[in-house]
Protein backbone atom coordinates (compact mmCIF):
# COMPACT_ATOMS: atom_id res chain seq x y z
CA UNK A 1 0.00 0.00 0.00
CA UNK A 2 1.01 3.62 -0.48
CA UNK A 3 0.43 5.85 2.55
CA UNK A 4 0.93 9.61 2.77
CA UNK A 5 1.41 11.00 6.26
CA UNK A 6 1.05 14.76 6.75
CA UNK A 7 2.76 16.08 9.87
CA UNK A 8 6.09 14.74 11.11
CA UNK A 9 4.96 14.69 14.72
CA UNK A 10 6.20 11.90 16.99
CA UNK A 11 3.10 9.94 16.03
CA UNK A 12 3.71 10.59 12.33
CA UNK A 13 7.36 9.59 12.44
CA UNK A 14 6.72 6.41 14.40
CA UNK A 15 3.83 5.43 12.17
CA UNK A 16 6.06 5.94 9.12
CA UNK A 17 8.77 3.73 10.63
CA UNK A 18 6.29 0.96 11.41
CA UNK A 19 4.75 1.09 7.94
CA UNK A 20 8.14 1.15 6.17
CA UNK A 21 9.35 -1.86 8.12
CA UNK A 22 6.11 -3.61 7.18
CA UNK A 23 7.07 -3.19 3.51
CA UNK A 24 4.70 -0.32 2.68
CA UNK A 25 5.52 2.71 0.60
CA UNK A 26 5.37 5.90 2.68
CA UNK A 27 5.78 9.64 2.16
CA UNK A 28 5.85 12.00 5.14
CA UNK A 29 5.10 15.67 4.42
CA UNK A 30 5.96 18.48 6.84
CA UNK A 31 6.49 22.20 6.36
CA UNK A 32 9.13 22.67 9.06
CA UNK A 33 12.40 22.83 7.14
CA UNK A 34 14.86 22.09 9.99
CA UNK A 35 12.72 19.12 11.03
CA UNK A 36 12.56 17.74 7.50
CA UNK A 37 16.32 18.18 7.01
CA UNK A 38 16.99 16.30 10.22
CA UNK A 39 14.55 13.50 9.44
CA UNK A 40 15.79 13.08 5.88
CA UNK A 41 18.88 11.42 7.38
CA UNK A 42 16.61 8.58 8.47
CA UNK A 43 13.89 8.72 5.84
CA UNK A 44 15.77 9.79 2.72
CA UNK A 45 13.31 10.25 -0.13
CA UNK A 46 10.41 9.22 2.05
CA UNK A 47 10.19 12.67 3.59
CA UNK A 48 9.17 15.82 1.75
CA UNK A 49 9.12 19.52 2.62
CA UNK A 50 5.87 21.38 1.99
CA UNK A 51 2.37 22.29 3.14
CA UNK A 52 0.44 19.02 3.11
CA UNK A 53 -2.88 20.86 2.81
CA UNK A 54 -1.80 22.30 -0.54
CA UNK A 55 -3.01 20.54 -3.68
CA UNK A 56 0.24 21.09 -5.61
CA UNK A 57 2.31 19.60 -2.81
CA UNK A 58 -0.01 16.61 -2.51
CA UNK A 59 0.17 16.07 -6.26
CA UNK A 60 3.98 15.94 -6.18
CA UNK A 61 3.71 13.49 -3.27
CA UNK A 62 1.61 11.24 -5.51
CA UNK A 63 -1.71 11.72 -3.74
CA UNK A 64 -3.58 10.43 -6.79
CA UNK A 65 -2.25 6.92 -6.21
CA UNK A 66 -2.29 6.93 -2.39
CA UNK A 67 -4.37 4.25 -0.67
CA UNK A 68 -4.43 6.10 2.62
CA UNK A 69 -3.80 9.71 3.63
CA UNK A 70 -3.21 10.28 7.35
CA UNK A 71 -3.51 13.90 8.53
CA UNK A 72 -1.52 14.04 11.77
CA UNK A 73 -0.73 17.73 12.19
CA UNK A 74 -1.50 19.37 15.53
CA UNK A 75 -4.21 21.58 14.01
CA UNK A 76 -7.71 20.15 13.62
CA UNK A 77 -8.77 22.57 10.85
CA UNK A 78 -5.68 21.75 8.77
CA UNK A 79 -6.29 18.03 9.22
CA UNK A 80 -9.89 18.40 8.10
CA UNK A 81 -8.87 20.22 4.92
CA UNK A 82 -6.18 17.62 4.13
CA UNK A 83 -8.76 14.83 4.32
CA UNK A 84 -11.46 16.61 2.33
CA UNK A 85 -8.99 17.82 -0.30
CA UNK A 86 -7.47 14.39 -0.90
CA UNK A 87 -10.91 12.75 -0.99
CA UNK A 88 -12.37 15.17 -3.52
CA UNK A 89 -9.37 16.06 -5.67
CA UNK A 90 -7.38 12.86 -5.59
CA UNK A 91 -10.11 10.31 -4.84
CA UNK A 92 -8.14 8.92 -1.90
CA UNK A 93 -9.97 5.77 -0.77
CA UNK A 94 -9.24 6.22 2.93
CA UNK A 95 -8.50 9.30 5.01
CA UNK A 96 -7.56 9.39 8.68
CA UNK A 97 -7.44 12.52 10.80
CA UNK A 98 -5.89 13.19 14.16
CA UNK A 99 -8.32 15.21 16.27
CA UNK A 100 -7.18 17.25 19.26
CA UNK A 101 -10.58 18.55 20.33
CA UNK A 102 -12.83 15.55 21.15
CA UNK A 103 -15.85 17.63 20.09
CA UNK A 104 -14.59 17.53 16.50
CA UNK A 105 -14.58 13.74 16.15
CA UNK A 106 -18.21 13.25 15.25
CA UNK A 107 -18.31 16.32 13.02
CA UNK A 108 -15.26 15.21 11.04
CA UNK A 109 -16.74 11.80 10.42
CA UNK A 110 -20.02 13.33 9.28
CA UNK A 111 -18.28 15.46 6.64
CA UNK A 112 -16.14 12.89 4.89
CA UNK A 113 -13.23 11.87 7.12
CA UNK A 114 -13.13 8.06 7.23
CA UNK A 115 -11.55 7.68 10.65
CA UNK A 116 -10.49 9.94 13.49
CA UNK A 117 -7.86 9.37 16.14
CA UNK A 118 -8.25 11.27 19.34
CA UNK A 119 -5.51 10.73 21.90
CA UNK A 120 -7.58 12.27 24.70
CA UNK A 121 -10.36 9.76 24.14
CA UNK A 122 -7.95 6.83 23.83
CA UNK A 123 -6.32 7.79 27.13
CA UNK A 124 -9.69 8.10 28.84
CA UNK A 125 -10.67 4.72 27.49
CA UNK A 126 -7.49 3.05 28.69
CA UNK A 127 -7.80 4.56 32.15
CA UNK A 128 -11.45 3.56 32.40
CA UNK A 129 -10.57 0.05 31.35
CA UNK A 130 -7.93 -0.13 34.07
CA UNK A 131 -10.34 1.07 36.71
CA UNK A 132 -13.07 -1.31 35.57
CA UNK A 133 -10.75 -4.27 35.68
CA UNK A 134 -10.14 -3.40 39.34
CA UNK A 135 -6.41 -3.38 38.84
CA UNK A 136 -4.54 -1.63 41.58
CA UNK A 137 -1.09 -2.28 40.15
CA UNK A 138 0.12 0.32 37.65
CA UNK A 139 3.34 -0.59 35.84
CA UNK A 140 5.78 2.35 35.87
CA UNK A 141 8.60 0.87 33.88
CA UNK A 142 10.35 -2.42 33.20
CA UNK A 143 13.87 -2.74 34.60
CA UNK A 144 16.76 -3.93 32.48
CA UNK A 145 16.46 -7.61 31.68
CA UNK A 146 12.71 -7.34 31.36
CA UNK A 147 11.32 -9.72 33.96
CA UNK A 148 11.37 -7.22 36.85
CA UNK A 149 9.13 -4.14 36.93
CA UNK A 150 8.84 -0.99 38.98
CA UNK A 151 5.16 -0.62 39.83
CA UNK A 152 2.85 1.64 41.76
CA UNK A 153 0.18 0.06 43.95
CA UNK A 154 -2.42 2.09 45.79
CA UNK A 155 -3.96 0.91 49.03
CA UNK A 156 -7.72 1.03 48.44
CA UNK A 157 -10.49 1.19 51.04
CA UNK A 158 -10.96 -2.14 52.78
CA UNK A 159 -7.61 -3.52 51.66
CA UNK A 160 -6.37 -6.57 53.58
CA UNK A 161 -3.04 -4.94 54.30
CA UNK A 162 -4.28 -1.82 56.12
CA UNK A 163 -2.63 -1.64 59.58
CA UNK A 164 -0.42 -4.62 58.77
CA UNK A 165 3.36 -4.36 59.18
CA UNK A 166 5.56 -5.12 56.20
CA UNK A 167 7.45 -7.82 58.11
CA UNK A 168 4.15 -9.64 58.81
CA UNK A 169 3.05 -9.73 55.15
CA UNK A 170 5.17 -12.75 54.29
CA UNK A 171 6.43 -11.12 51.09
CA UNK A 172 8.12 -13.53 48.70
CA UNK A 173 11.66 -12.81 47.51
CA UNK A 174 10.50 -11.27 44.28
CA UNK A 175 8.74 -8.28 45.89
CA UNK A 176 10.50 -5.31 47.49
CA UNK A 177 8.57 -2.33 48.85
CA UNK A 178 10.66 0.70 47.91
CA UNK A 179 8.68 3.67 49.17
CA UNK A 180 5.30 4.75 50.51
CA UNK A 181 3.83 8.11 49.55
CA UNK A 182 1.49 9.21 52.36
CA UNK A 183 -0.02 12.68 52.76
CA UNK A 184 2.70 14.88 51.35
CA UNK A 185 5.63 12.72 52.43
CA UNK A 186 7.53 9.85 50.96
CA UNK A 187 8.50 7.23 53.55
CA UNK A 188 11.32 4.73 53.17
CA UNK A 189 9.70 1.76 54.84
CA UNK A 190 11.19 -0.70 57.32
CA UNK A 191 9.84 -4.01 58.55
CA UNK A 192 7.93 -2.20 61.31
CA UNK A 193 6.16 0.19 58.91
CA UNK A 194 2.46 -0.50 58.49
CA UNK A 195 0.14 0.50 55.65
CA UNK A 196 -2.73 2.97 55.67
CA UNK A 197 -5.62 3.57 53.32
CA UNK A 198 -4.70 5.71 50.27
CA UNK A 199 -0.98 4.99 50.58
CA UNK A 200 0.72 5.05 47.20
CA UNK A 201 3.28 2.29 47.29
CA UNK A 202 6.20 1.92 44.90
CA UNK A 203 7.56 -1.62 44.63
CA UNK A 204 9.99 -3.67 42.60
CA UNK A 205 8.21 -6.81 41.54
CA UNK A 206 9.15 -9.88 39.53
CA UNK A 207 6.61 -10.24 36.74
CA UNK A 208 5.45 -13.61 38.05
CA UNK A 209 4.46 -11.93 41.35
CA UNK A 210 2.35 -9.12 39.90
CA UNK A 211 -0.85 -11.13 40.43
CA UNK A 212 0.21 -11.86 43.99
CA UNK A 213 0.78 -8.20 44.89
CA UNK A 214 -2.54 -7.39 43.22
CA UNK A 215 -4.30 -9.92 45.48
CA UNK A 216 -2.53 -8.66 48.60
CA UNK A 217 -3.48 -5.01 48.11
CA UNK A 218 -7.00 -5.57 46.82
CA UNK A 219 -9.89 -3.73 48.47
CA UNK A 220 -13.07 -5.26 49.79
Amino acid sequence: MYIIIVGASKAGVNLAKTLLSGGHEVTVIDQDKPKVTLLSETFGDNIMLGNGANASVLKVAGANRADVVAALTGDDATNLVICQLTKLMFMTPRTISRVSDPANEEIFQSIGVDATINSTRILNYLIEEQVQAGDVVVPLFPLKGGDVELVQVDVPKGSHIIDKKIKDLGLPEGIIIVSIYRGDKTLIPKGETSFQQNDEVIAIVKKEHIDKIQQMFKGS
Binding site: N54, A55, D75, A77, L80, L88, I107, I111
Partner: protein
Protein backbone atom coordinates in the same frame (compact mmCIF):
# COMPACT_ATOMS: atom_id res chain seq x y z
CA UNK B 1 -30.86 42.00 7.56
CA UNK B 2 -28.87 40.44 10.39
CA UNK B 3 -25.25 39.68 9.46
CA UNK B 4 -22.65 37.77 11.47
CA UNK B 5 -19.03 38.56 10.58
CA UNK B 6 -16.34 36.16 11.78
CA UNK B 7 -12.87 37.67 12.08
CA UNK B 8 -12.11 41.33 12.62
CA UNK B 9 -8.92 41.68 10.63
CA UNK B 10 -8.40 43.73 7.48
CA UNK B 11 -11.38 42.20 5.70
CA UNK B 12 -13.76 41.71 8.62
CA UNK B 13 -13.34 45.23 9.97
CA UNK B 14 -14.00 46.76 6.53
CA UNK B 15 -17.06 44.57 6.09
CA UNK B 16 -18.45 45.94 9.35
CA UNK B 17 -18.21 49.52 8.04
CA UNK B 18 -19.83 48.65 4.73
CA UNK B 19 -22.70 46.65 6.21
CA UNK B 20 -23.44 49.07 9.03
CA UNK B 21 -23.68 51.93 6.52
CA UNK B 22 -26.32 49.86 4.74
CA UNK B 23 -28.26 49.74 8.01
CA UNK B 24 -27.84 46.02 8.68
CA UNK B 25 -27.77 44.61 12.21
CA UNK B 26 -24.25 43.29 12.90
CA UNK B 27 -22.50 40.83 15.18
CA UNK B 28 -18.71 40.46 14.97
CA UNK B 29 -16.88 37.45 16.46
CA UNK B 30 -13.15 37.68 17.08
CA UNK B 31 -10.83 35.60 19.23
CA UNK B 32 -8.37 38.41 19.81
CA UNK B 33 -10.22 41.26 21.47
CA UNK B 34 -7.59 43.85 20.50
CA UNK B 35 -8.55 43.40 16.85
CA UNK B 36 -11.90 45.09 17.45
CA UNK B 37 -9.98 48.36 17.31
CA UNK B 38 -9.68 47.99 13.54
CA UNK B 39 -13.40 48.72 13.36
CA UNK B 40 -13.89 52.43 12.78
CA UNK B 41 -17.58 52.86 13.55
CA UNK B 42 -18.64 50.64 16.43
CA UNK B 43 -22.06 52.17 16.98
CA UNK B 44 -24.83 49.58 17.06
CA UNK B 45 -22.41 46.71 16.43
CA UNK B 46 -22.50 43.67 18.74
CA UNK B 47 -19.22 42.03 19.70
CA UNK B 48 -18.49 38.49 20.79
CA UNK B 49 -15.04 37.39 21.93
CA UNK B 50 -14.35 33.71 21.31
CA UNK B 51 -13.06 30.92 19.10
CA UNK B 52 -15.50 30.48 16.23
CA UNK B 53 -14.38 26.91 15.58
CA UNK B 54 -16.06 26.14 18.91
CA UNK B 55 -19.63 24.98 18.37
CA UNK B 56 -20.78 26.73 21.55
CA UNK B 57 -19.65 30.11 20.21
CA UNK B 58 -21.40 29.51 16.90
CA UNK B 59 -24.63 28.58 18.67
CA UNK B 60 -24.38 31.66 20.86
CA UNK B 61 -23.89 33.85 17.78
CA UNK B 62 -26.90 32.33 16.04
CA UNK B 63 -29.28 32.70 19.01
CA UNK B 64 -30.80 35.62 17.13
CA UNK B 65 -31.42 34.13 13.68
CA UNK B 66 -28.98 35.52 11.09
CA UNK B 67 -29.59 35.99 7.39
CA UNK B 68 -25.95 35.87 6.39
CA UNK B 69 -22.64 34.72 7.89
CA UNK B 70 -19.38 36.00 6.43
CA UNK B 71 -16.39 33.88 7.45
CA UNK B 72 -13.34 36.10 7.16
CA UNK B 73 -10.51 34.98 9.44
CA UNK B 74 -7.06 35.15 7.87
CA UNK B 75 -6.67 31.36 7.76
CA UNK B 76 -8.25 29.28 4.97
CA UNK B 77 -8.38 26.10 7.03
CA UNK B 78 -10.02 27.81 9.98
CA UNK B 79 -12.60 29.40 7.66
CA UNK B 80 -13.38 26.02 6.13
CA UNK B 81 -13.94 24.38 9.50
CA UNK B 82 -16.10 27.23 10.75
CA UNK B 83 -18.24 27.37 7.60
CA UNK B 84 -18.93 23.64 7.71
CA UNK B 85 -19.79 23.69 11.40
CA UNK B 86 -22.27 26.51 10.80
CA UNK B 87 -23.87 24.50 7.98
CA UNK B 88 -24.21 21.49 10.28
CA UNK B 89 -25.92 23.61 12.94
CA UNK B 90 -28.18 25.42 10.47
CA UNK B 91 -28.41 24.10 6.91
CA UNK B 92 -30.57 26.95 5.66
CA UNK B 93 -28.34 29.86 6.63
CA UNK B 94 -26.38 31.62 3.88
CA UNK B 95 -22.65 31.28 4.53
CA UNK B 96 -19.91 32.90 2.45
CA UNK B 97 -16.23 32.35 3.27
CA UNK B 98 -13.02 33.92 2.08
CA UNK B 99 -10.34 31.53 0.76
CA UNK B 100 -6.94 32.47 -0.67
CA UNK B 101 -6.05 29.04 -2.06
CA UNK B 102 -7.63 28.64 -5.52
CA UNK B 103 -7.51 24.84 -5.37
CA UNK B 104 -9.52 24.85 -2.17
CA UNK B 105 -12.11 27.09 -3.82
CA UNK B 106 -12.83 24.32 -6.34
CA UNK B 107 -13.19 21.69 -3.62
CA UNK B 108 -15.49 23.66 -1.34
CA UNK B 109 -17.64 25.14 -4.07
CA UNK B 110 -18.26 21.52 -5.05
CA UNK B 111 -19.25 20.83 -1.45
CA UNK B 112 -21.84 23.59 -1.64
CA UNK B 113 -20.26 26.44 0.30
CA UNK B 114 -20.08 29.86 -1.30
CA UNK B 115 -16.56 31.22 -1.61
CA UNK B 116 -14.93 34.55 -2.40
CA UNK B 117 -11.31 34.20 -3.51
CA UNK B 118 -9.08 37.32 -3.41
CA UNK B 119 -6.42 35.51 -5.45
CA UNK B 120 -8.75 34.93 -8.41
CA UNK B 121 -10.24 38.42 -8.09
CA UNK B 122 -6.77 39.99 -8.19
CA UNK B 123 -5.82 38.01 -11.28
CA UNK B 124 -9.08 38.94 -13.01
CA UNK B 125 -8.57 42.62 -12.15
CA UNK B 126 -4.98 42.54 -13.38
CA UNK B 127 -5.96 41.01 -16.68
CA UNK B 128 -8.50 43.79 -17.23
CA UNK B 129 -5.91 46.52 -16.78
CA UNK B 130 -4.89 48.52 -19.82
CA UNK B 131 -2.05 46.88 -21.67
CA UNK B 132 -2.67 43.46 -20.13
CA UNK B 133 -5.86 42.38 -21.84
Amino acid sequence: MRVVIIGSGRLGSRLVSVFSKRGDSLLVIEQNESKFMYIEDKQGVEFLVGDSTDEKIIRQALKKPADLVLVATGNDYTNIMIAQKIKIIDKTIKVIMRLFDVNLVTVYTELGIEVVCPTSLTIDALLKMPGLS
